[in-house]
Symmetry: C2
Subunit: 331 residues, 2 copies
């Protein structure tokens, strides 16, 4: 894996996006989102997504210009038709509107349909927290997860992220309701490595440790029936509020040809907050259990990796970097 | 276990609450909450909690009269000082205010401090969904759960519940972020049964399958680091918004003498909703995996048990029933 100075990666990504007809401000946001995940070593939500996005723009299922059509259906509720816009462009425009509105309302919510993949939810949670507010963010996805006790993928990986100011910095957590990402299954398959028991079913709905077989099957919800209940609840709530597709009808976050039919939901709360940073300090100082070096705070490892990437450059997969350079070269 | 007609249980519970000085409308709500859990076979949140509540009223750490002091700090945000009121009385008063407010605002949020234990969150989620709105509810608790990689109980069991109308009934899920309840650990200990690996640590912070040792230790978060991240996020968010106690400083939901210092958070959304009941039908008709009879929808088993209790009477633990009858007899 080459280590590339951050500015060079940015420049290449910007050239790729400019060549695809993305206006500079929209391109900067899309690039920052993917780069943020890449810097945090969440490659599945990083720059490897850029070539597919360019294909989607070329195929007319991603609109590089629109920020979505926003309608306040009530003083605290924003309905957004993403008009097939770029995920982070539509999402950030909605969140900006919520941040503004929540200052007077205390809380404001947006339900978004028809936007492209909005990437790592933690990106938005971090930004809202840094602006002094709380964000609870949800998103649905293609059906990749089996219901507890079922055989087929019926439910999205349906992540949740929560960000808030702690009084001394920010806290951010971001997790899918699947036990693992499909990217990780693919990674195991590519390396010919088995996957742990309990991660996935094969295409016939039987438990498997064969990563290649799991690719065509279904991932388990995290934490068994509890994670299933959460992921299902998010899918139902987001679909009901956004009027989007559900289950196996959700398309357009993994392919290059289908309009994106998932939903996103953002809740921004703007209220005076008690400081909670002392409690995080206490957790950091806890004696670790056997086999652990320390008690970790969610989000902090990613933040540390991001600091290192800013200082030392980005560790990027060869195949991703060559592909981006190729795409930029055609500009 | 005796099977007791529902009306008889209600009468006994009402006599117990009346003797403790609880006004009839507050008593009805407190009784309905505990009875609802009891009917759903969630005994840990059922009538066994009533004797302790009576002790708490006697000790002056539960106020049987107040509905809490509500203050709208913004058009969409309600801050509630529970004034040590009964949990369901303060919670339902807050939710009633949110249901009213959300009709005009689209969304309304309440952060509650200083209320007693509000019981099973699903009780409220069901009621709000039946009224045609969505509820996301959270609560913190005494520190019973160890952080991922830690040795001591530092975090509450911090449940979340989500309720919404489906277009053909309601959906409700309710889950703690712990792998199991402390009640279940006690139940294993009482029966001299071992607990599964991964459920808990002993007082020294080492993994144990000895239920008695686990009682003095810490329960695991559900789903490992993901459940830890969720439970911690809820604890931070609720504490920051409600200005309540955090971690090991949370008291008063398991004892009879300490003022209750946990927090509750309710988000009510009132918007037109797309129907999602067809998707639930689809899930119910899915082929079950090996070892399963069918794919279950969260909340439905409890609803079925409740129907049966209404028709056939309540299956209540001897010890709980005798204790309630004793308490009612002193009235």
């Amino acid at each position: 894996m080459p280590i590339v100075p951050l500015q060079e990666v940015k420049d290449v990504a910007d050239r790729v996006l400019a060549a695809a007809g993305v206006p500079p401000d929209n391109a900067a946001l899309q690039r920052d989102l993917l780069l943020d995940a890449e810097m945090r070593s969440i490659a599945s939500h990083g720059l490897l997504r850029l070539p597919r996005l360019v294909e989607r723009i070329g195929n007319g299922v991603a609109n590089p210009v629109t920020k979505g059509r926003q309608e306040w259906t009530a003083p605290g509720f924003l309905k957004v038709d993403g008009e097939q816009g770029l995920g982070p462009v539509v999402a950030q425009a909605a969140i900006d509107a919520l941040m503004d509105r929540s200052a007077s309302q205390g809380v404001a919510v947006a339900a978004v349909a028809n936007a492209n993949h909005i990437g790592m939810l933690g990106f938005y949670a971090d930004r809202v927290a840094e602006a002094g507010k709380c964000l609870i963010a949800f998103s649905t996805s293609e059906a990749l997860v089996h219901p507890w006790g079922g055989r087929r993928a019926m439910i999205g990986t349906n992540p949740i992220a929560i960000g808030l100011p702690t009084g001394d910095g920010v806290f951010m957590m971001d997790t899918a309701t699947s036990i693992v990402s499909m990217g990780e299954i693919h990674d195991h398959a590519n390396r010919g490595a088995p996957i742990p028991q309990g991660w996935a079913l094969d295409a016939a709905g039987n438990a498997t440790t064969d990563a290649a077989a799991a690719r065509d099957g279904a991932i388990a919800p995290f934490g068994g029936p509890k994670g299933y209940a959460l992921g299902l609840a998010f899918e139902l709530l987001l679909t009901a509020l956004a009027g989007s597709a559900i289950g196996r009808n959700v398309k357009g976050t993994l392919d290059s040809t289908e309009p994106c039919t998932k939903a996103d939901l953002f809740i921004v709360i703007d209220q005076p907050l008690a400081a909670v940073s002392d409690f995080l300090d206490l957790l950091r100082s806890e004696a670790p259990a056997e086999g652990f070096d320390n008690v970790r705070i969610p989000g902090e490892r990613g933040r540390e990796l991001r600091r290192r990437a800013v200082a030392d450059g980005l560790n990027i997969a060869d195949v991703t970097w060559s592909r981006l350079q190729d795409l930029a070269g055609t500009a």
